[in-house]
């Protein structure tokens, strides 16, 4: 009995990143937009888990959550999945070439991921004839980068719990 409870708890903890991914997509809170700053939680979530524990987030699920985000936000279908998959691609590349895991390494390698991801996002919207608020995109990139360590800390705690 205790073993089965432990197993259930362990499985639930492992499912949290996936549940979080769909929760933020369905609730339209993948981009937290406050008065002075905005953070793209979606990017951070995908980057962290693909980098640190890829079995928690399947690429298919990332694609699906991107499609949900596009529908909820009213964007052309395929915009968010494309940028999220590019972020996941950069994370997978960094995972292959990095040996030592540290916040600084993750944080610095997040810069190209963020730049390429937002570039793809901009590119997809531009060719779909959508007006883009460039300042918002810039502000969003800066604050997503700044807030990365905070979410990194929270996700690392969760990651350690799933390992223990």
């Amino acid at each position: 009995m205790p073993t089965s409870f432990k197993q259930t708890k362990f499985r639930f903890l492992q499912l949290i990143p996936l549940l979080l991914l769909f929760y933020i997509s369905l609730n339209g809170i993948s981009v937290i937009d406050l008065k002075f700053f905005s953070i793209n939680v979606h990017y951070i979530l995908v980057y962290f888990w693909v980098l640190r524990q890829p079995r928690s987030l399947g690429y298919g699920f990332i694609f699906l959550s991107g499609i949900i985000s596009d529908v909820v936000f009213g964007l052309p279908l395929g915009t968010s999945p494309l940028s999220l998959l590019v972020i996941a691609g950069v994370a997978a590349y960094v995972r292959t070439v990095t040996v030592r895991i540290s916040l600084i390494n993750d944080w610095i390698s997040f810069i190209p991921a963020l730049l390429i991801g937002n570039f793809v996002y901009f590119f997809a919207l531009y060719f779909s004839d959508y007006s883009i608020d460039y300042f918002f995109l810039f502000k969003n990139s800066i604050f997503t980068f700044i807030f990365y360590p905070i979410l990194w800390g929270a996700f690392t705690i969760l990651l350690n719990l799933t390992k223990n």
Binding site: F22, Y23, L26, N27, G28, V31, D33, S38, P54, R55, G58, Y59, G60, I62, F63, G66, I67, I68, V71, V72, F73, G74, L75, P76, L77, G78, T79, P81, L82, L85, V86, A88, G89, V90, A92, Y93, R95, T96, V97, A124, L125, F127, S128, Y130, S131, I132, D133, F136, N140
Partner: protein
């Protein structure tokens, strides 16, 4: 140098082409599918529209259900705040009500006179029968698009471009995406919204442009205009899509720019009226 390039190639191949543990798809395949989705967005064919409608309707319902707990908590918070404010508002409303009672007979006379004059110049008169009421089922604050989703679509003969009004018949936006059981309304505050308007009493024609925030601004008007603070802004109907004379808001001059403060609070809309536009009395 060659070894470095080889290593880079191997790492890229491993990241994009190989399927990891417990991964059903490789990244490359999904990126290609995303690009196909994006390209198909530009193509308007019946089967593709059906496919898109099914996906969107399903996700809207799912999102509506998933956001019930969060929306519930938000509603409780808003209601509590409203209850605190209610006593202050009561006194204000009583004074306003007395004033409105005095004005009501005068308004009826003006409406009648206006209808007669419009008939004289052969202009459309909107009837209440033109409207179809819908409920907002999904109102997610998107940083990129100011819009929401209503619970009726092509099943109620709603089409792209139809006018959307709030419960007080103020103009709030237009339909931009129609599915079987849902439609998306693009609000006038959105960056993509450009509406031809007329400013009264000066009669100046202009374009109302949204900026993605709470207000919009007037553009493309004559240099020697006579627009003042508090002038009323209505749809001009010049583009031939919207009826003319639908109230939108009032002007406010800020730093030589003419901002428009909407009559409707776009964050607090639960029900909308969609002008189906088929039962015009004069046409």
């Amino acid at each position: 140098m060659d070894t470095n390039r080889e290593d880079f190639g191997i790492a890229i191949r491993s990241a994009f082409l190989s399927r990891g543990t417990q991964q059903r798809f490789s990244l490359f395949v999904l990126v290609i599918i995303s690009i196909i989705f994006l390209l198909f967005e530009k193509i308007e064919t019946k089967p593709l529209n059906y496919f898109r409608s099914i996906i969107k309707d399903t996700i809207y319902r799912g999102a509506f259900l998933a956001s019930l707990p969060t929306d519930g908590i938000n509603k409780i918070t808003i209601n509590l705040a409203k209850h605190i404010e209610i006593y202050k508002e009561y006194d204000k409303l009583r004074v306003e009500n007395n004033l409105l009672k005095k004005n009501i007979s005068q308004t009826d006379f003006f409406r009648m006179e206006n209808e007669q004059l419009r008939k004289l110049i052969d202009e459309d008169i909107m009837s209440d029968d033109n409207y179809f009421n819908s409920r907002v089922i999904l109102d997610k604050e998107s940083p990129y698009l100011k819009s929401f989703v209503v619970n009726n679509g092509s099943n109620k003969k709603i089409k792209n471009g139809m006018t959307v009004l709030d419960d007080e018949k103020n103009f709030i936006g237009r339909i931009v995406d129609v599915n079987f059981f849902s439609s998306r309304v693009l609000l006038i505050s959105d960056l993509n919204s450009k509406i031809p308007v007329i400013v009264e009493p000066s009669g100046t024609h202009a374009i109302l442009s949204g900026h993605g925030n709470k207000n919009a601004s007037l553009e493309y008007f004559t240099k020697n205009h006579k627009i003042k603070d508090g002038d009323k802004v209505y749809t001009s109907g010049k583009e031939g899509i919207f009826a003319s004379g639908i109230p939108i808001g009032e002007t406010k001059l800020i730093n030589e720019k003419i901002e428009v403060l909407f009559f409707s609070d776009l964050d607090q809309i639960s029900f909308v009226s969609i002008n189906l536009g088929e039962l015009n009395l004069n046409k």
